[in-house]
Each structure stands twice: as C-alpha cells, then as structure tokens.
C-alpha cells in the first residue's frame, strides 16, 4: 500500500514531465548551484558539520525551504542572506539541480545490528514513513531523511522539540514533542545510515 503510493507518485510525476531524479543537469544549473557547493558539497553531499545534504531531495522540498529562507520565515543568517536575491526561477532551477543528484551515501560507518533495529523500531512507532515516504526518501514538500547527515538531523529534531525550528504546518513540532534526547540520538544515527 505504501509502496503503491510511492509508485503512483513517481508515475504521476513522469506523466506530467516534472523534473525528477532522472532529469538532465544543465551547465547553467551547475553554475547557479556553485555558491551552494562550498557548504552543501559539489554534488549535494554536504562535507560540513550540521549542514544538510541536498542531493536527491524532492524538488518541492528544496524550493519550499529556499522560499522560506528568502522570506525570513526560516531563520539562518547564512541562508537568509544567500536566498535573499534569488528569484523564483532561480529557486526552481536550484531545486531541479539538487533533486537530480545521486542520493547521498550513508552518513558514517554501518550501524551495528541492534542499533539499526532500535532505529527502525522507533521510526516505525513514530510513523515517519507516513509523510517521508515508504523508504524515507521524501515526497512533494517533505524532505528525504535517508542518508542525511546525522548531526543535522539531530539538531533539527532538537529544534522541533524545543519549538524553535520553523515549521510551516506544525507537523514536526507536534511529532517531536514525545521524543527524549536518547530517542533523537537513535533516530538521527539510524536515518543517516540509510541509503
């Protein structure tokens, strides 16, 4: 059933000719994305602490966040400044560029089996896949979690729990309320280890 939803999503995106993972990356896109590379990595795999990988994120997630940075809803000194001059067309192009990059490699060494099992159980209990998709690869305006940097995920979850992280619809703020710091650690490490 969940796989069905994901498959349908891919099918409908294809039918509409949307730029998805299979889209071609143009030189103009690469050039526009160059300022992002310093922190997010040339191919969207972030080498920097507490910085998200953008590779293979859904295009609508990237564009939504860039709009929210530009409009000042989501706060980050660096990102607010970088997003300020971007037009909607620029943002669409950047979203398409990073969405088309190969998915990030798992963050860190493979997890011991018990840590992986604990992470999977927690992710199941919290119904993460309900919004983030069957394989936690994101959909529409909702981010991919699989392979994201664990330190970034940890800080976002802590921010949601503290109700300080910008949240367009309140979903993650509500979802994070029941998490303990230990839960957050288990989840962040587990999600980062997925491919």
């Amino acid at each position: 059933m969940r796989r069905g939803v994901a498959a349908a999503l891919v099918a409908s995106a294809g039918a509409l000719g949307c730029t998805g993972a299979a889209a071609q990356v143009t030189d103009a896109q690469r050039q526009k994305a160059a300022p992002c590379a310093a922190c997010h990595g040339a191919e969207g795999r972030a080498p920097l602490a507490d910085t998200p990988s953008l590779a293979a994120q859904p295009k609508q997630f990237i564009t939504t966040q860039l709009v929210m940075f530009r409009e000042g809803n989501r706060k980050s000194e660096v990102m607010n400044a970088l997003a300020a001059p971007l037009s909607n067309a620029d943002i669409n192009e950047l979203g398409g560029y990073f969405a088309a990059q190969a998915s990030p490699l798992p963050d860190g060494p493979p997890l011991p089996a018990d840590a992986a099992a604990a992470g999977r159980a927690l992710a199941d209990r919290l119904l993460c896949s309900q919004c983030h998709g069957a394989e936690l690869k994101g959909q529409q305006h909702i981010p991919r979690l699989a392979g994201q940097r664990a330190d970034y995920l940890r800080n976002q979850l802590l921010g949601f729990k503290a109700q300080t992280r910008f949240d367009m619809d309140g979903n993650m703020t509500a979802a994070a309320q029941a998490l303990t710091p230990a839960d957050i650690e288990i989840l962040a490490t587990y999600l980062g280890s997925l491919h």
């Binding site: 939803v5 999503l9 099918a11 709009v67 929210m68 669409n92 119904l127 305006h141 300080t164």
Partner: protein
C-alpha cells in the same frame, strides 16, 4: 518563531536582573508541549496511521509550459487558456475599477497586480511583507486586504502601483489568540458597503469561541465589526445574489469522519444572525459524532446544497457577465480546491450551480481536468481556488498550486 525569540529574550532579561542576587535560580520553564497540527485534530485512534494529508502549494509557481494544459475540459463552445503565470500561490482575485486584477496568497506575504497596457499583460508584485494576506476586495478606488490579524485599505492604489500608498488600518486585532487552523481570511465587499470576512474554526472539530467559526462584517468607515453568521466552520468564498442581494457562501465541513461524510456545502444567508450548525450539525442533517449528542439539526439553517465530501469549495461567484450563453446568467460558479481527506479523491474542478425558483440547486462540471489520478499522491496537477467575472464576461480561475490564472471564454 516570534514566540520563541520573545521567550529567549525574556529568559535573558530575567537572568540579568537576578545575576549575582541569588545562588539558586529557577531554570527556564520548558514550553508547553505543542499540540497536534490543526489538520490532524479529531482523528480517531485507527486513523492515526492514515496516509491522507493536505497538499502544499508549489511556492515558487510553475511555468505554464510545464503543465498538461491539454487535459483541461470545458463545455462545448467554451475555451480555456492561461491568462497569467508567475504569481506564486495565486489565491484570491479581485478586480480594480480601472481593470487591474489583484491576486493574493496565503503562505506567502504578497499581493500581485495584473495589468494590461497596449495589449501587453504584465504581472507585478505590489504589496510585500504581509501576514497571510489571503483576502482581497476592491471598491471605489480602494484595495482592501485581509491579513491574518487585520484588514487594511490602500486608497487610490491603481494610480500608483509602482509605489503603493501606506496601508490604512480598517480593523485590527482579528486574531488575538494566534489561533491554529483556519486563520486565513476571505474578503469581499457587500452590497451594503461593508466588508465581509470569515473567522474560521481553530481546528478540525473543536468548540469555537463565540467569535470563531463565523462570517463577520465591518463598516470600513467606522471600523465597527459585527458577527453576521455563526456555526460556519470555514468559509473562504462568498458572493451576493445580484437579484436579491442575499449572501451566499461555501463552507468546508469537518474532516476525519469518513470518505463520504459529511458533505461540504453551499449556503444562503438572507439575513444577519443565522447559525449554520458547526460544531453540532454538518451538512444540515448529520449530527457530529461527538458534539452532536443531545442536539438536533433542526436548530440550525440547512444548506442550499451538498457539494461533495471533502471537495473543498473555495471561491464562488455569481455569473453576472454577458459573454456566456443566457442560461448562465446568475448561475453560481464554485472552485473546488480539494479533496485530500478522502481515499479516492474528487473535485479539483470548477462546478456550475443552477438554482431554480424553488431554491433547488443543480450541479454540473464546468472546468475539469486538474485531477490526474484519484488514487495518487498528489492526485492533481492544479487546484482551482478562486474565480472572477471580468468586465467582458470571461471567467478567471486562480490556481494556487501552480501560481497560474486561467481565462474561460465563450465564442458565439
């Protein structure tokens, strides 16, 4: 965000005042746990694993060239075309005296103007930095904008689109509780010269305060407001019958009962003071499973029509133009923005409602084709949200998912 900043500043100030005064300081209080988001409120236990969810608009807009426009369908003799693009989250429409079309949005902060000069149409952002400016209305040279918390007026704006005047506040403090859910406001100028707007329910199915789940009106000359209709869960579309001057409005019924109940509705409010049932009774004959206990639907005004469960009727307009065939005159067009809270989706269309002399409403499709796969996620590639009858009689349709305005015309 603002709240957390304030809290942090407050804690900092508190710490400074007490610094050095006492050894044992009270730790900063943790914020109260955040509740479930408004759209999830009212789910039953077995609905907690549901994959149904509202759809977010593409906030940068999509170019018309990316869209499967050939899928759009109108009745024989009618034509639909893209009229303007590049208006992210094009939400509500209003027409200026001099022909400017103003377009609002809900998740963004702007108002756009679409103007035509020498046959060339252009789209310009004219207002910025607003707080969910969902409602726009125009009268006597003035543009009125309903933000989350206030209604403002921009006098003579059509003559100074490049440098609009400062806003004049008509009424403020419309959202004193920062209510969750349904905080965006539709705005329309009534035939009585008063501005009408909704205050939605602060959740899916909750007991509203007396000022919530209402349609209100405010006199723009005095700023005095009054409740016009109550028991209205959330109405983001209304218009007046050009013959009788009666107010008609669309209403979203509650979610999370089931796929087919309750219906969203079309209503007529011929006078002030009517109650339309929320949260006790929905669709005129369905008592709420929780709040309906011990109540009767006969206490409340019945709807003029049931429109379909979860179909999300938003903008509605009486057809007052002369371009369409005569039988369309005074029909109601309704933009169906949904559905999301339904396993098989319906809507994503513009419907035509014909009201006969006995008040019976007959519905038929008018503009269809946005729904691509009723079982897919997302099921649609576009979402009609508001409508506008132009001076030449053409009908504009705002699509907030893509940031596009379409024009439906008729060739004799």
């Amino acid at each position: 965000m603002n709240r957390s900043t304030t809290t942090r500043l407050g804690v900092l100030a508190f710490g400074l005042v007490l610094a050095g005064a006492a050894a044992a300081q009270t730790p900063a209080p943790a914020p109260a746990p955040a509740p479930a988001p408004a759209w999830q409120q009212g789910r039953s236990g077995d609905q907690a694993t549901s994959t149904l969810h509202p759809f977010a608009p593409i906030l940068t807009g999509r170019a018309a060239s990316e869209l499967p426009l050939d899928k759009l369908k109108v009745p024989s003799g009618f034509k639909v075309e893209v009229w303007a693009e590049g208006i992210p989250e094009a939400r509500s429409l209003t027409l200026g005296d001099k022909g400017t079309v103003f377009v609002s949005n809900r998740n963004l902060k702007d108002v756009y103007a679409i103007t035509e000069q020498g046959g060339k149409r252009s789209v310009t952002k004219v207002l910025r930095g607003l707080n969910s400016p969902n409602g726009v209305a125009f009268a006597n040279g003035t543009l009125f904008v309903a933000e989350r918390h206030r209604i403002t007026a921009y006098d003579g704006i059509e003559d100074k689109l490049a440098s609009p005047p400062e806003p004049r506040v008509v009424i403020d403090n419309l959202d004193p509780t920062s209510q969750p859910g349904h905080f965006w406001k539709f705005l329309a100028m009534g035939p009585d010269g008063k501005l009408y707007f909704n205050v939605g329910a602060p959740g899916n199915i909750v007991m509203p305060s007396y000022a919530q789940a209402t349609i209100n009106r405010v006199d723009p000359k005095t700023g005095v407001m009054e409740i016009y209709a109550s028991g209205v869960r959330n109405s983001v579309g209304f218009d007046w019958d050009p013959r009788t001057k009666d107010l008609w409005f669309t209403n979203h019924a509650r979610d999370w009962v089931n796929d087919d109940l309750p219906h969203d509705t079309l209503h007529r409010a011929a006078k002030k003071g009517m109650n339309f049932g929320y949260p006790f009774c929905h669709q005129g004959d369905f008592l709420d499973p929780e709040y309906g206990k011990g109540r009767s639907c006969s206490e409340f005004e019945a709807p003029a029509a049931k429109l379909g469960a979860h179909i999300a009727p938003n903008g509605m307009r009486f057809y007052t133009g002369s371009m369409f065939p005569a039988e369309y005159r005074n029909n109601i067009f309704i933009a169906m923005h949904g559905s999301w809270n339904r396993s098989t989706k319906q809507g994503y269309s513009v419907m035509r409602a014909v009201v006969d002399s006995a008040g019976k409403v007959e519905l038929s499709p008018f503009l269809e084709g946005f729904l691509s796969d009723a079982k897919a996620d997302p099921p649609m590639w576009g979402r009609p949200n508001d409508l506008l009858v132009m001076k030449d009689g053409a009908l504009l349709v705002a699509d907030d998912y893509n940031g596009i305005v379409y024009r439906v015309s008729y060739a004799r």
